[in-house]
Symmetry: C2
Subunit: 205 residues, 2 copies
């Protein structure tokens, strides 16, 4: 498909508008305008708003979930996995800044849709299961506390990497955070967060 073909332009525009305003907030007219084409052409290529949305949904989740899973699949130990996770996951989000708000919104409006998608993408190797194995190994080696739990760990890791992207608009307003300052903050977090999480796993004393 050519770079500036109508399809490409539509998909790009739709991705932008849907991910920013959600399904109900998005307007076909706005997408058409942004793509520089007639509204009818939208329906020519993608029969309906819903079909177009489904395209975007698939596109966005496809470029996100598999990468997300790959990050956790690794043969290194838990500490290394955590280090790599924050670096890769935050980098991934930097390339798709509005994926978090999109997925969180979708999750609230259509939990089943995301769930089905995840079932397909994660199948056997769910992040939760993977973490569980690594944790068991760590405990067996006496490297981490015995009460470490995979769900809590995953929630903490996801919280810390995703939340800044959800609150980015606020950050930008509050502290006069420029785009560059935000980038700096993220780079700093890529290094600090693994330390923070690992410290919390270590046995006391």
């Amino acid at each position: 498909m050519k770079e500036d073909s109508p399809e490409k332009k539509i998909l790009e525009a739709a991705k932008f508008v849907f991910s920013k305003k959600g399904y109900s907030g998005a307007r076909m007219q706005e997408i058409a305008d942004k793509a520089g084409i007639n509204k009818s052409l939208l329906h020519y290529y993608f029969r309906s708003k819903e079909k177009l949305y489904d395209h975007i949904f698939t596109e966005l989740t496809n470029e996100f979930f598999p990468d997300f899973n790959k990050i956790l699949v690794s043969d290194s130990n838990l500490f290394k996995v955590i280090e790599v996770f924050f670096d890769n996951h935050i980098s991934l989000l930097q390339k798709n800044k509005n994926i978090p708000i999109f997925i969180i919104s979708e999750l609230n409006n259509n939990p089943e849709k995301i769930y089905k998608k995840m079932l397909g993408d994660f199948a056997e190797n769910s992040p939760v299961a993977l973490l569980k194995v690594k944790i068991k190994e760590g405990i067996a080696q006496g490297l981490i506390r015995e009460d470490v739990n995979e769900i809590n760990l995953l929630i903490n890791m996801l919280s810390l990497s995703i939340f800044p992207f959800l609150s980015a608009p606020m950050l930008k307003l509050v502290s006069g955070f420029s785009e560059e300052k935000f980038t700096l903050l993220l780079e700093q977090r890529k290094k600090e967060l693994p330390k923070l999480i690992i410290k919390s796993l270590l046995p006391d004393k």
Copy 2:
């Protein structure tokens, strides 16, 4: 205002629908149905959808931001402040489970609106400024590391307490998390998260 007055019923219904579906996803008809009244009555009491939304917006943020601020205003030391924060903040969110998604969405569609609200509510005593003072005290006493930064600390605290509510629908699907199990998770986090954060602040060794 009486408990079951139309106004009350409308506000309750509107709060539910708006916070679940957002402004553009909400339907006046649905609000009317949920309130058990005629759609015209909605317009009789609140001239327009936007006006009604503004009411809800004010109501939701009013019951949230001031409490949020109160939590951080305290004369105890940083560690105590952190402990109290997680307990109170998570409890507050438990009583308003869909506030996080509402505010995050609003933040993305209308950053200025939230910003103005915060400016009014926080005025002089911004949480950021308050944390900064506590951190300085802690550093002066040699209790915490010297490179601790108030923005990062606040982001971490907010991330860890808010994110579970944003991803609750997923949790409920993935691990067959029931409402009770979710509550249990939260109670556990109220105790674990202060430890996690405090550990990350302590000087090495």
